[in-house]
Symmetry: C2
Subunit: 549 residues, 2 copies
């Protein structure tokens, strides 16, 4: 017996069509030096058609890769839609990658064209000559005409203005039929060891993930919403928020390059988003700015999505209690499109128990399955007690990395499941609690110490701005925790105070023996604490370490 | 370039696994003569495993059909989940079908097993002997043991209690891997002419449709919601609400056979749903009951989904203004799984303009495309003015009927689109306004008169309970409108009054010339106005027709 349902594929093209016709009256608003710039989704649809025609005229065919080197703005949104819909593959280059990694991923993906923001020309130009497969560069943005195009032309590539190319193109494009399992977009993860690894999203995975973002358990988007993705569009698909906005008809508020607290808060007050997504460090900056400016509020926001690294409860509490901002922690990674779980609190739960729920990584969304495994690959019970590596499975979870047969890379998959590299527990009701990255767990005398739990506890101290804990070699215990702390200016708190503070929550053997007070925690190219830098600085004797005793 | 995404199918089985584990603490509550009966989703999962084992023990294999003849209750939910997940096909029999149609569909689908509610044994028994392929009957429900099993056994079929069969089975089942395009469930439409036509949903279509129901533009379900599907589970998949509940973790409130206003309102007050779906006639009954009982409120409900036939604005206004109940009209049909569009109001719109938006069929949901065509199949512009037959396309829209090559049936499809049989307009922003069923449009002197618009206007009159308008033959004009009206008890309003009332809104040539006042409007087996009965009664001279002059 066959189903009688139509065989209509799930494609970015269908999402483009829907968003730019049915929701043609929604808008994308982008921050510029001269204020807000608004573009209707109907116009976004016409611009996508012009971009697709323009790229064809440059010779882009089949599933060739077109790269973007852009902030979150209108032109990046147009590229998100046009490139996959024409059958090509969108490669979002992370502008914060280290130069050798940036060149590596552009060559590995064989990018043909790069679309670069006017404000990023200076960052791209030096590396362009090494991008061997790139033939054309398009410079986008309101100030493209005054950008230093010669610096790009020095690479020998064909360089032209995005606006000039598009001006000559028609407002309609004969979008091809695309198989839903075809490649739509790719994103490299910046691994802490080895080369970045490529994840290739399909049209299907992007469509399903976007629809999931629109469901009530995650963002619950409808066409009255306004979505502010602060998470960059070159990070894991901007958490799916751009596509989800087109799907639901929610408008988009794009902050472009102004990601510091002051311009961000101003942009929030002007563009009035109802929902926004960013990593904890951004919200920490916003919190401090709002604390310092009690006359400013961002009351249009009904929900904050936060993830990328563990979201400290202290941060969530402060945002809620002092500024009425509700944080929903979500968990995922580039490899999971990225959203795999979202926090929530059972009805009737309040007080400290509520914060315990909000501090976890939440419940699995429908479509993603999870399990935990021991070091030897044995599947452990999802009983909320057994601790192991989290493995996930689902239609928007990667099952491989692009064109890599490095054994270290293939070892990331286990019986068809993705090994996430995160360590934690899953309880019988699908609540995930992650305690650490597998590589950051501190192994002390046969026991595991969670660096993340210590960090969260430290960051709950009123005088601590940020804290990172890493394992340092120890002859007797194998590893012991080292806490690196950024204090509020003027604080006189010392290591012994903080150690005593942690003593209320942790066993004595879990407390850090070594402490250092620094100006800022080093960060990776995606803004996470860069613990390998801390370990290296410690090994090189470049950290000033004290002990509480 | 291949996507690296995992190839995980979209199946009812994955939805079953998610809902009964991650949301094992949500519940389905069913009305019984002794009050509410609550079952956790975790227990639903175990019961589904037992049912699958039990059906296997009866010899159900492959994609054989298992029919249900049940109200909305826990056992029907278990059947919804277990039957497709074991690879079999769920056939929901409409208990209100006329006997010959009921027997026809059971034989056409080749049903092997029928699960029947204890309260419906008497309705099924007379027709069971004619259901040729049925070998087993399972009697479910709290009072199954005292049902008249002998009346069923008289058919020669094997008859046993659902509870007895399940008691012997294990709590776990080795659910098979199922292709997402495989048949999952089937539903027959009760055509007004000819035999009912079968639509076969796939696992994929059910999954995608359920996720769409959970998005903010439709029901926005999250796991704090409680869903009351009053729309029967034997109608178009209960509008997807049952599967969407499992997907989101929302609890379910099942009214079983108590669909009259008084027990329904009591059930709402006891089970406290946050969202509920039913056809307009049910809400009309609820409205009248609430009006008569000002001390009763159903304030747990945050949104009502309403569809199945046009939802009069007067009804929506009354529910909102007198009882704080917000109605969201949705449009669809068995052939579209069913939800294809949902109403909503642009921000800033209020007053009569708001009601105009709420009175339409709403905006297309992402995934469904629509267009309108002229009688000759020409595609007309979606400009909000051109009127034609609505055609739709999408991954949860049927592209055929089961096993039928009747030319009249294949004519329902046009270049891969479903011809809906609905007449109306689509505007450039995807708002659909349906003015009539194609077969109910009144063709008068070369112009079209919408029967639905006349009905809605009449039902806005305070003395009119219900009204149906049909075309009757006319020598001069080809057809002219006949209005059949049900007045409030005691009303003294006459045809001339109503004609004058309509005159404020309609051109003179559109006003009905013929009127009849009746006790109730005849209904089809799915509760819609049965206009063919009215036309037949008129032709047979059985209606007492008056003219306003």
């Amino acid at each position: 017996m066959h189903s009688t349902m139509q065989d209509v594929p799930l494609t970015i093209g269908s999402l483009l069509l829907h968003g730019t016709t049915v929701h043609g009256d929604s808008e994308v608003v982008t921050a510029t030096p001269d204020g807000l710039r608004s573009t209707s989704y109907a116009e976004v649809g016409r611009e996508a058609a012009r971009l697709a025609s323009g790229l064809r005229s440059l010779g882009v065919t089949g599933d060739q890769r077109v790269a973007t080197f852009q902030w979150n703005n209108t032109e990046h949104l147009v590229a998100y839609l046009a490139i996959p819909s024409m059958g090509a593959v969108l490669h979002t280059l992370n502008i914060r990658l280290f130069p050798e990694q940036l060149v590596y991923v552009a060559n590995h993906a064989e990018d043909r064209v790069v679309i670069v923001d006017d404000s990023l020309v200076g960052l791209l130009a030096p590396h362009l000559p090494a991008m061997e497969t790139v033939t054309h560069v398009l410079v986008a943005g309101p100030d493209a005409a005054s950008a230093d195009l010669d610096s790009l032309r020095a690479s020998g590539k064909q360089v032209q203005l995005y606006a000039d190319l598009l001006a000559a193109q028609p407002d309609e494009f004969d979008w091809p039929q695309v198989d839903e399992r075809a490649a739509a977009a790719m994103c490299y993860t910046s691994g802490t060891t080895g080369n970045p690894k490529g994840v290739i999203y399909s049209h299907r995975s992007a469509w399903l993930h976007s629809q999931m973002i629109c469901t009530g358990n995650v963002a619950g988007l409808d066409w009255h919403d306004r979505v502010l993705p602060i998470v960059p569009m070159f990070h894991a698909n901007a958490w799916g928020l751009a596509y989800a906005a087109l799907m639901s008809g929610a408008s988009l508020c794009m902050p472009d390059r102004w990601l510091q607290a002051e311009p961000l808060v101003r942009f929030m007050r002007e563009s009035r988003p109802t929902i926004s997504g960013a990593v904890p460090t951004i919200w920490n900056d916003v919190l401090m700015y709002l604390d310092a400016h009690p006359d400013l509020s961002v009351d249009s926001i009904r929900r904050i999505l936060c993830g990328g690294s563990a979201v400290p409860v202290s941060l969530q509490k402060a945002l809620k209690e002092r500024h009425g901002l509700e944080v929903r922690q979500a968990w995922g990674m580039t490899e999971t499109s990225p959203v795999a779980s979202a926090a929530g609190v059972p009805l009737g739960v309040s007080g400290e128990e509520e914060w315990r729920y909000r501090g976890g990584q939440g419940r699995l969304v429908c479509g993603v399955e999870a399990r935990i495994t021991a070091d030897d690959g044995t599947v452990l019970p999802s009983d909320g007690e057994a601790v192991g590596e989290l493995e996930v499975r689902g239609p928007w979870v990667t099952g491989a990395y692009y064109s890599s047969d490095d054994p270290e890379v293939t070892a990331k998959f286990h019986e068809g499941w993705l090994r996430t590299g995160d360590v934690g527990m899953v309880d019988p009701l699908g609540y995930i609690t992650l305690t650490d990255r597998a590589k950051d767990v501190i192994k002390s005398g046969g026991e595991w110490i969670s660096s993340v739990e210590l960090e969260n506890a430290l960051m709950a101290h009123p005088d601590v701005v940020e804290a990172a804990v890493v394992g340092i070699p120890d002859e007797k215990w194998q590893e012991r925790p080292l806490a690196s702390v950024v204090l509020r200016p003027g604080s006189t708190v010392g290591a012994a105070d903080l150690r005593d503070y942690l003593g209320a929550e942790f066993a004595k053997w879990q407390l850090p023996d070594a402490w250092c007070f620094i100006e800022q925690i080093p960060r990776t190219s995606v803004g996470k604490f860069d613990k390998k830098v801390l370990r290296r600085e410690y090994a090189d004797g470049r950290l000033e370490v004290t002990s509480p005793e």
